[in-house]
Amino acid sequence: MVTEHLQILAQRAQSGHVDSFGKIYDLLVEKIYRFIFFRIGVREETEDLTEEVFFKVYQKIQSYRNEGVPFEAWIFKIARNQIIDYYRTKKDLSSLDDHFEIEDPGLTPEEYTEKTISQEEMLEALKKIPDSYQELIILKFIEGKDNEEISHILDKPIAHIRVLQSRSLKALKKVVKKEKKK
């Protein structure tokens, strides 16, 4: 339903309808922001990159063709390329460690102690696995996207996505175990 709505909005935006583009932004800004934040970890940078991604979407919207690729996946692909460019210019992957700070997730005190610790551990563990695994975990287990959509975003076949999925989970498990032992 949402994908169809997005498709119609995309067509309108292609014909120069600015309000439709505004609606696309409203629908996807949170998802894109989250995707960038989990990969970068810096709020200010995430905000800048999110804005830039949406402007790029506007610039490239004429080249979008609805040939089996959902519009949302197409935007995620642009966001992914933006992140790659960001790291290419920065060439400082280690800086990722310094910027993560856990904020109040709005849970009950019991849940808070239980979940925040695990969330912190999880964020730490995520940073320690390879980039391709990170991307897949964010898209698959945090955003809840299906394999087909992920294959469009990452430009990889579905079979490869399945393999990557199990490998990334194994890698994350290993890292979490290590962190707990410490």
């Binding site: 800004v29 922001y33 934040f37 989990f38 004429q62 997730p105 709005g106 999880m122 945090i142």
Partner: protein, 227 residues
């Protein structure tokens, strides 16, 4: 363990810091729409952009088409033994092959091709005749003016053939002697001195043979006075 990981991963979606600030959302949206409107003003038309990967092959195809059609067009006026003549023949063959399923057109094209062959042969004959005439006139000229060929062409050769100062002096003395002799003869024969002057001026002999009418009249007057 795996379940725990999956649950915590899902919970990360609700993490407050992982979602954008509402003020940022609003400000970013307004900034974005402003940028888009500015960009739209810059580019008024929404013409679909043609990517470069189609432009170069298309340009190359157009170039090939133009050059091929140009050579075929140029070949139409070629004659046998010329560089483009095979192209002309090939184009005729293609035309015949294309029109072969249509009998009426096929005969017309065949007639045209035959006509062309006849024109080519007449053109060739004409050219041969012209060449033959040219050669014959050149031979005749050589026979009539053989000296022309011997004439020196270069400046050095011309200078070589020019007489030296000594030669010129000797020639002038020879002429003076001749005129002196002639004057002596005229005195003895009683002819007027004017002719002597003419001789001194080295006038050509032809003029002496055919003197001016004024000279004739003077001569006549002299003869009358003598009489």
């Amino acid at each position: 363990m795996r379940k725990d990981i999956l649950i915590t991963l899902k919970s990360l979606k609700e993490l407050k810091m992982a979602s954008p600030n509402p003020t940022f959302k609003q400000n970013a949206k307004s900034r974005l729409i402003e940028r888009i409107k500015l960009d739209q003003n810059m580019t008024v038309s929404y013409a679909p952009r043609v990517s470069n990967r189609f432009v170069y092959p298309f340009a190359f195809a157009v170039f090939l088409l133009f050059s091929a059609s140009g050579t075929v067009f140029a070949a139409q006026s070629s004659n046998p033994n010329e560089f483009l003549y095979p192209v002309k023949i090939a184009s005729e063959k293609v035309a015949l092959a294309i029109t072969s399923p249509i009998p009426s057109l096929n005969s017309q094209v065949a007639e045209l091709v035959e006509k062309r062959r006849v024109e080519e042969t007449t053109e060739l004959e004409k050219r041969e005749k012209q060449d033959f005439d040219k050669n014959s006139t050149i031979d005749k000229e050589d026979k009539v003016h053989p000296a022309k060929k011997q004439e020196p062409k270069t400046i050095q050769e011309q200078n070589k053939q020019k007489p030296t100062k000594g030669q010129v002096k000797s020639k002038s003395t020879q002429l003076e002697n001749k005129t002196k002799k002639k004057s002596q003869d005229s005195i003895s024969s009683g002819k007027p001195e004017r002719k002597q002057d003419n001789a001194r001026n080295d006038k050509p002999e032809k003029k002496e043979d055919h003197p001016n009418p004024e000279n004739n009249s003077s001569e006549k007057s002299n003869s009358k006075s003598k009489n």
